[in-house]
C-alpha cells in the first residue's frame, strides 16, 4: 500500500484548519452582526445616536429585537463614545426598573436596577482606555466604542405602561458635554 506523503498530510491538516476557521468565523461574527443590525434599526441607521428612543407596548408587530417582552416598557439608546463619555439618567418609578449596558459583541456587561438605585439611575459611560470621568453616582467603562443602553420598566397593563411612559419622559442619554453635567 502506498504510504501517505507529507503533501497528503499537509492537505489534511489544511482542510481541518479551514473547517475550524470557517466554523469559528461564523460563530464569532454572528453576535457582532446581530448587534450592528440592532443598532442600525434602533438608531435609524445612525440618525439617532446618544439619545433615548422610547418603545411602545410590544405586540406582534414589534420586529426590531427578537423576543420582546409585552410586559415591559423598553427604552433604548445606541451609544457612540467616539467623541467622549455619555451621560445616562433614568428616573425612579413604581416597580421594577433597570438600566443595562450591552457591548458591540452583545455581552451584557453592566446592569443596575431600582433596588440598587432607589432614587433613579445617574451614570456616566466612558470608553476603555480613556480618562475616567467623574460627576455621577455611577461611572462605567465600556469595553467597546459603540453599544446599546436598554431601560426596562415593568408595565404589564395599559395603565402601568402609561405610568412608565410618564416616569421615563425626562430620562437622559446624551453626550456628557450636553445638558446637565
Amino acid at each position: 500500500m502506498k504510504r501517505p506523503t507529507l503533501r497528503t498530510a499537509a492537505i489534511v491538516v489544511f482542510i481541518a484548519v479551514a473547517f475550524t476557521a470557517g466554523h469559528l468565523a461564523v460563530v464569532t461574527v454572528w453576535p457582532w452582526r446581530a448587534m450592528s443590525t440592532a443598532m442600525d434599526r434602533i438608531s435609524q441607521d445612525g440618525a439617532a445616536v446618544n439619545q433615548w428612543r422610547h418603545g411602545q407596548r410590544a405586540t406582534g408587530k414589534s420586529r426590531r429585537i427578537v423576543r420582546p417582552s409585552p410586559d415591559l416598557a423598553n427604552s433604548s439608546c445606541v451609544y457612540d463614545l467616539s467623541d467622549g463619555p455619555v451621560r445616562i439618567r433614568a428616573a425612579a418609578g413604581d416597580g421594577y426598573m433597570s438600566v443595562s449596558l450591552y457591548a458591540a459583541n452583545s455581552d451584557n456587561y453592566f446592569v443596575v436596577n431600582d433596588r440598587n438605585a432607589p432614587e433613579g439611575v445617574d451614570m456616566i459611560l466612558y470608553r476603555r482606555g480613556q480618562p475616567r470621568p467623574s460627576g455621577a453616582a455611577l461611572v462605567v467603562e465600556s469595553p467597546s466604542r459603540r453599544g446599546i443602553v436598554l431601560e426596562r420598566r415593568l408595565a404589564p397593563s395599559p395603565d402601568r405602561f402609561a405610568e412608565a411612559a410618564r416616569a421615563r419622559a425626562n430620562d437622559i442619554c446624551a453626550p456628557l458635554t450636553e445638558g446637565p453635567g
Partner: protein, 201 residues
C-alpha cells in the same frame, strides 16, 4: 494521464475552500439549532447559564444573539425556553394547552408565547403572556393558563392564534438566591396538551 504540476494544487485548494464553507455551514447550523446544546433542561424548560455573560463561550453568545439578543445576565434575570409539551411533542397552534404552576421564586415572573421566528405572534388579542402581577390564582395559590386561539372564558389566557409552531419563554426577574444557586429548586410550570383540532389528544 499524468497531471501537470501546474494543476496539482487545484484539487487540494478546492478541498480547502469546500472545508472552509462546510465549517461556516456547521457554524450556522449550531446557531440555528441552539436549543439543542442548551446547558440545562428541566422538564423541557431549557436554560443557559451563559446568557448575557461576559464569560459566555462563543457558541452560547452566538445562539443568544439569534434567539435572545439584549437578554440580561443571570444575576438580574434567568430565562428558560420551552418548545415541547409534557410528552415531548412540539407546540402547535392547532392544539390547546394548559400551563400551570405556583408563584416562582423571583421578584417578578412571566410566561410569554413566541412564534418560531422568535417574535410575538401576529394577532390582535393582546394576550401574549401571564405574569406575576395579573395571574388569577385559586385558593391554594396555583394558577392555570389556557394556551389556545380563543380564551373560552379561562381566567388566564395566552393566545396562540397565528402562532404556528410556537415556543414559551419563562422569565424570572431578580431571582432568589436559592433559584440562582440551584435551578432544580425552581417549581417550573407544567405544560399539558388538552387536545388538537380535528384529532384526539
Amino acid at each position: 494521464m499524468a497531471t501537470t504540476p501546474r494543476f496539482r494544487w487545484i484539487a487540494p485548494a478546492l478541498a480547502i475552500v469546500i472545508a472552509l464553507m462546510a465549517g461556516a455551514g456547521s457554524g450556522v447550523l449550531v446557531i440555528l439549532k441552539g436549543e439543542q446544546i442548551s446547558q440545562s433542561s428541566h422538564d423541557y424548560w431549557l436554560g443557559n447559564r451563559g446568557v448575557g455573560s461576559t464569560r459566555a463561550d462563543p457558541w452560547t453568545r452566538a445562539i443568544i444573539a439569534r434567539i435572545g439578543l439584549l437578554a440580561l445576565n443571570r444575576s438580574e434575570t434567568i430565562y428558560f425556553t420551552r418548545y415541547r409539551d409534557s410528552e415531548g411533542r412540539p407546540f402547535n397552534a392547532a392544539c390547546t394547552y394548559e400551563v400551570s404552576g405556583t408563584d416562582l421564586p423571583a421578584r417578578w415572573w412571566s410566561v410569554t408565547i413566541y412564534g418560531d421566528d422568535d417574535f410575538l405572534p401576529l394577532n390582535e388579542d393582546g394576550a401574549y403572556s401571564v405574569d406575576a402581577t395579573r395571574a388569577v390564582r385559586d385558593a391554594s395559590g396555583r394558577w392555570r393558563a389556557r394556551i389556545a386561539a380563543a380564551s373560552d372564558g379561562a381566567p388566564n389566557w395566552i393566545s396562540s392564534r397565528a402562532a404556528g409552531t410556537f415556543n414559551l419563554s419563562l422569565r424570572l426577574y431578580n431571582p432568589s438566591r436559592t433559584a440562582l444557586d440551584d435551578e432544580a429548586t425552581i417549581p417550573f410550570p407544567a405544560v399539558r396538551r388538552l387536545g388538537c383540532e380535528g384529532a384526539s389528544s
